[in-house]
Symmetry: C2
Subunit: 404 residues, 2 copies
C-alpha cells in the first residue's frame, strides 16, 4: 500500500466524460489498496470564462474579488469528481483549499503557501476515503480565499505530497513526460525516464511548457519526488528527483527552444557607474523579466547593453526604458525575430567541451550566434528565429540525444 498524491490538469477534467475517465483511473489505483489524495484544476476554459465575466462588470477588479471568483472553477471540479467516484461506488469526499487547510500569505492572485494543516484530510484518508482537493487555491489567516497563480495546481499537489509524506506524487497533464526536445520539432526526441530538479528547473525557465519553475523549486526544497505523465494513456512518464543516475558520457539531458523572446540592444550609453543599474531598475519596477544580459565596453567608454525580454512584455519594456534612456543617454533597438536555444544537463558540471560542441554544430549549420549565456548546467544562445528548429535538430543529434 502506498500513499499517493495525483494531480489532474484542466484538459484532463474538461467535461463530464473526461471527469468520469479520471474517476475510473482513480478507482483502479485505489482498488490496488493505495491511499489517494487527488488534486484537480478547473475545467479547461472555465477560468477564462470567469475572467471575461469579471472584466465585463469591472475593468480593474480587486485581486481579492478575483480570487473569490476564480476559486469556484476548482470547487466545481472537486464536487463533480467526488460525485463521479461515488457513482462508481468509491467513497470519495471533496475539499476546497480552505477545507484542506492550505494556508497562504495574503498576496491575492499569486499567494505563497505558508503552511498546510492536514488534520481533517488525514482523518478522512485513514477512514479509507479518496480525497479530492481543489488545486490553485488556499485561504489566508483572515479566512479570505487566495489563489496561487499560474501552475498553482501543480504546487498544491507537491505541497500536499510534502505535508502528508506521500510515497508518490503524480502530475497528470496533456503531455506524457519530459522530452529531450520538443517532439513536434525534433522527430527523434525521446522521453526521459528521469530528470533532476535542477535540469527540470532550467527547462521550465527556458520555455518548456510542462511545468512552472515554482512547483519544481518547491519540490526540490522539500525533496518531493514526482512523476509527470499523461492522463490520456497508461504510459510511464518522467520522474523528477534530486539525483539522477546517468552515464558519465551523458552531458546534455535536453534541448529547449524559446521563441517568445525579444532581443533588446541599448547602444551608446556613457559608461558611468550606475548607468546599467538605472536601466535594469526601470525594467524591474515594471516587473519585466530580463535574461541573458551582456555588456560590452567599447572605445572611449561607450558601452552597449544587450539582453532579452519575453515577447509579451516588449511593449511594456519600450515604455519602461524611455525615461531611463533620457537620463543615461543611449538608444534602444528591439529585435523580435530571435529565439533562444538552450542545452541543459547536470553532466556539464564536470565536463568541458559542451559549449565548443554546441557552437561548432551551429556554425556547421550556418547559424549565427547573437548572444551567449551560460550557467553551471546550461548553455543558451540567441539565434535567428527562422533557424531555431534547424538548430534544435542539429544540437539534439550532436549530443546523441536521439540514441540511448
Amino acid at each position: 500500500m502506498a500513499r499517493i498524491v495525483q494531480k489532474y490538469g484542466g484538459t484532463s477534467v474538461a467535461d463530464v466524460e473526461r471527469i468520469k475517465n479520471v474517476a475510473a483511473r482513480i478507482k483502479a489505483i485505489q482498488g490496488e489498496g493505495n491511499e489517494l489524495v487527488v488534486v484537480v484544476s478547473a475545467r479547461a476554459g472555465v477560468t477564462n470564462e470567469l475572467i471575461a465575466r469579471a472584466k465585463a462588470v469591472c475593468p480593474m477588479p480587486s485581486e481579492r474579488e478575483m480570487d473569490q471568483l476564480l476559486a469556484i472553477g476548482e470547487q466545481e471540479t472537486i464536487a463533480l469528481t467526488a460525485m463521479a467516484l461515488q457513482g462508481m461506488g468509491v467513497n470519495a469526499v471533496s475539499y476546497t483549499g480552505a477545507q484542506a487547510g492550505i494556508f497562504t500569505d495574503t498576496v491575492h492572485t499569486k499567494a505563497k503557501i505558508t503552511t498546510i494543516k492536514a488534520k481533517a484530510l488525514e482523518k478522512d484518508l485513514k477512514a479509507g476515503k479518496v480525497i479530492i482537493v481543489a488545486g490553485f487555491q488556499g485561504i489566508n489567516e483572515e479566512g479570505q480565499v487566495t489563489t496561487l497563480g499560474r501552475g498553482g495546481s501543480d504546487l498544491t499537489a507537491i505541497a500536499l505530497a510534502a505535508a502528508i509524506r506521500a510515497d508518490k506524487c503524480e502530475i497528470y497533464t496533456d503531455v506524457d513526460g519530459v522530452y529531450t526536445a520538443d517532439p513536434r520539432v525534433v522527430k527523434d526526441a525521446r522521453k526521459l525516464a528521469e530528470i533532476s530538479y535542477d535540469e527540470m528547473l532550467e527547462l521550465a525557465s527556458l520555455g518548456s511548457k510542462v511545468m512552472q519553475s515554482r512547483s519544481v523549486e518547491f519540490a526540490a526544497k522539500y525533496n518531493v519526488v514526482f512523476e509527470v505523465r499523461s492522463s490520456f494513456n497508461q504510459n510511464p512518464g518522467t520522474i523528477v528527483k534530486q539525483e539522477v543516475a546517468y552515464m558519465e558520457k551523458v552531458l546534455v539531458r535536453g534541448v529547449a527552444v524559446d521563441k517568445d523572446q525579444a532581443k533588446v540592444v541599448i547602444s551608446n550609453i556613457t559608461d558611468r557607474p550606475g548607468s546599467a543599474a538605472k536601466v535594469f531598475r526601470a525594467l524591474a519596477n515594471a516587473h519585466i523579466n530580463v535574461d541573458m544580459i551582456v555588456q560590452n565596453v567599447g572605445r572611449a567608454g561607450i558601452a552597449n547593453l544587450t539582453f532579452t525580454v519575453p515577447l509579451s512584455e516588449k511593449d511594456k519594456a519600450v515604455r519602461a526604458l524611455e525615461p531611463a534612456l533620457r537620463e543615461v543617454g543611449g538608444e534602444a533597438a528591439f529585435d523580435e525575430a530571435i529565439a533562444k536555444l538552450s542545452v541543459v544537463g547536470v553532466g556539464m558540471k564536470t565536463h568541458s567541451g559542451v559549449a565548443a560542441t554546441l557552437f561548432q554544430t551551429l556554425a556547421d549549420a550556418g547559424i549565427n550566434l547573437e548572444l551567449i549565456s551560460t550557467s553551471e548546467i546550461k548553455i543558451s544562445v540567441v539565434i535567428k528565429k527562422d533557424r531555431a528548429d534547424d538548430a534544435a535538430r542539429a544540437a539534439h543529434a550532436a549530443f546523441g540525444l536521439d540514441k540511448l
Copy 2:
C-alpha cells in the same frame, strides 16, 4: 443613516448587465449615507446547470457534494457584484456564507441556521464597506459547506438582518410586492402596503410564489420587519411585520389560488382506531405534505378520508399509500382537476360571516365546494380547477379587495 440588508434574487442578477443595474441601485442607497449588507442569489439558471452536470456524472450524488457544488453559484455572484461596485468607485467586499459566519446544522441541502458570527462583517461594515453576502449557503461546525434549501437566500437576508440588528430588510424579487390576488388572474388586484407575518405565512403556504414560509416564520420569530419589492423598478413594495394597522371592516387581506394540488379520497376504510394514523404515517415517511384533511364516518363504521397533496408528489403518494391500504383496507382515488382557493385575513379572528360570504359568492357563481378547511385567519375550499380563476375574481370582489 440606516443599516439596511437587501436581498436580490436570481433573476435580478441573471447576467452581467443586470448585475451592473443592481450595483447602481446599491451605490445610490449607500450614497445616501446608509450601511449596506447585500445578499445575492446565484444567477438565474446556474443552479439548474450545475444540477444537470452533477446528474451527468452520478445519478445519486451525496448531498454533501451537492452542497459543495451548488455553493459556487452564489460565490460567483458575490464576486461579480462586488467587482461591479468597485468599477463604480464603491468600496465593496464579498463574503461567502462561511466568511459571513453563517453557521448551520449538518443537514446538507436543507440546513437550518444555528448561529451567525458576524464579527468580521461588522468590522467591514463599520469601515464603510458595502458587504455582499452569498445567499442560500452556510458552513457547519466541521467546516463543510451547507445549503439552506428552497428560498434559502431570503432566509440568509432575514437572519443577517436579525443578527446585525438592521433597521430595514428589503427582499428584491421579480414581483413588486404582495397583491390581494394574482394580478394575472384578477385584474383589479391591488398591491398591499402592509401585511402581517401570519397573513403572509398563510399566503406563502397557499401557493403565493412570493416567498417560502420558513423565511417568514424566521422573520416572525425574530421580529424582522421586511419589505418585498421589485429590483426592476422603484415602486414601493409590501412591508411585512407583526402588527398591521387596518380598518375594522377589512376582513380579508387577499385571495390565493393553488392549482398545484391533487385531491385524494380514500374510501371504505374500516373505522378502527389507528387506521387514519397508518395512512398519514405512510405519507409522512415519504415526506409528502398533506393538507385539508377531512374524515367522514358513515354508516356501519365505514369511513372516508379526503385530503390534498402537492401535484408534484402525487405519484409518490400513490406508491406510499399502497402498503398502508393493504393493511387498513380501503381504496384510493386521485383527482388532479382541482384547485385550492383561500381567503386570508387577520380580521377574521374577530368577525364572523366571512365563511358565509365566501360560500354564498361561490354558490352564486355556480361553483361547487368539494372540501372546506378553516383556520383562525383563513378559509380554504377545494373546487374544480377550471373554475378557480372565476372563483378568485368573484371572491376578490365580494370582499371589496378591488376598492380602498
